[in-house]
Subunit: 222 residues, 2 copies
């Protein structure tokens, strides 16, 4: 029984949430699109394995966030000898354009092409995880450049969540959580005019993905 690691690499590109997929060059499922990854080596754990494989095959050392998604282990999920897969969710900031091999390309998660094996449903599971965590963690930072305007961040959130997000609300929520840090700088407006936008960064302690916002809170120690 072999063990493989797979990663759903997500990035917001041109306003939509997209996943990086490989075109299979082998049977079975030749020509279909599949998730990057590969076999787990005997000297590495799954985290380092997926990081190695991504860094090897693609230039994706800029992955800002990687986390375990789930294990997929249906006996017949791939034809032939049994393969158990540990799937990951990986996030790439919207400003980097990773150099990817010839046989890979980005696909909007909204309408995926024919995927190999169970890779389609794995991708959808990854999107659900991202959407859930966007609301109660600051995982959204992994989708954004180091410097960004609020409206740019709003567009990222909108693309990932699939519905329109208000910039006003986003700024206030993130500010209240102490996740935003102001740089004095601004960005000149576009051709159609408009007020110049302020540039923000993530606060230091806002960088790591914080725990879910507790609906039940420990007793206040006032």
């Amino acid at each position: 029984m072999t063990h493989e690691v797979l990663c759903v690499v997500l990035q917001v590109r041109s306003g939509t949430l997209q996943a990086l997929l490989w075109r299979r060059a082998l049977e079975p499922h030749l020509g279909r699109w599949s998730l990057p990854g590969g076999r787990l080596r005997h000297d590495e754990d799954v985290e380092t394995s997926i990081r190695r494989q991504l860094a090897e095959k693609v230039d994706l050392r800029k992955l800002k966030h990687v986390e375990q998604l789930a294990v997929f282990s249906t006996p017949d999920r791939v034809p032939g000898p049994r393969v158990v897969a540990t799937a990951f969710l990986g996030l790439v900031p919207s400003d980097v354009e990773p150099t990817v091999p010839e046989d890979t390309s980005w696909h909007t998660v909204e309408q995926l092409p024919r995927t190999a094996f169970d890779h389609g449903s794995i991708t959808l599971r990854a999107r659900e995880r991202l959407r859930s965590k966007l609301s109660y963690t600051n995982i959204g930072f992994a989708l954004a450049p180091d410097l960004f305007t609020i409206s740019a961040l709003r567009d990222l959130y909108s693309a990932a969540l699939g519905y329109r997000v208000s910039a006003t609300n986003l700024q206030r929520v993130l500010t209240r959580r102490g996740a935003l840090a102001t740089t004095g700088e601004t960005v000149p407006p576009g051709r159609s005019g408009g007020r110049p936008a302020a540039l923000f960064t993530f606060a230091e302690h806002g960088m790591q993905v914080t725990d879910p916002f507790a609906a039940f809170r420990p007793p206040s120690t006032r």
Copy 2:
């Protein structure tokens, strides 16, 4: 490379959160406490595997909730040939007393005994998962009997979370989420008197563990 499935079976017993552990009868780590589970068969996925193994060795078909926790895959996590583990979180309602084999017993998670391998940290991870989910899902129902009073539920939440929870608040929150259903019945008070407590059940749609409470909400369609 073999694959094993492990389960952190948690139950609130006598006011504390406890985990079901086995005393190892084999080297290595003979005599230490370990998580129930075993090797993944070639014809089953990890979910059915852990369910089978728990139902086989212990009488635990009453597990009200089982979910994947994480993969643990450090190459040397167990001595000898490589073993990758998929860990689960399992919850047992507080009113059932499962018949368990001779060589197993319950241990408070607060102060675990010497565990085998990485089973100690896995157990702690499971507790963290439970605590997180308690606040923003209704997973707490898996810890409670079918019929329960609010104060009994309060005690369960307090034990699992590790801090005192107010019965008033708990009732209101769960009611507002539509998770509680009233049965007309009450329970006579104890020896020291007191108002009889009302018996509650879980609403139908409250039975499944709902998604995290969204901090960002889709636009209201009013």
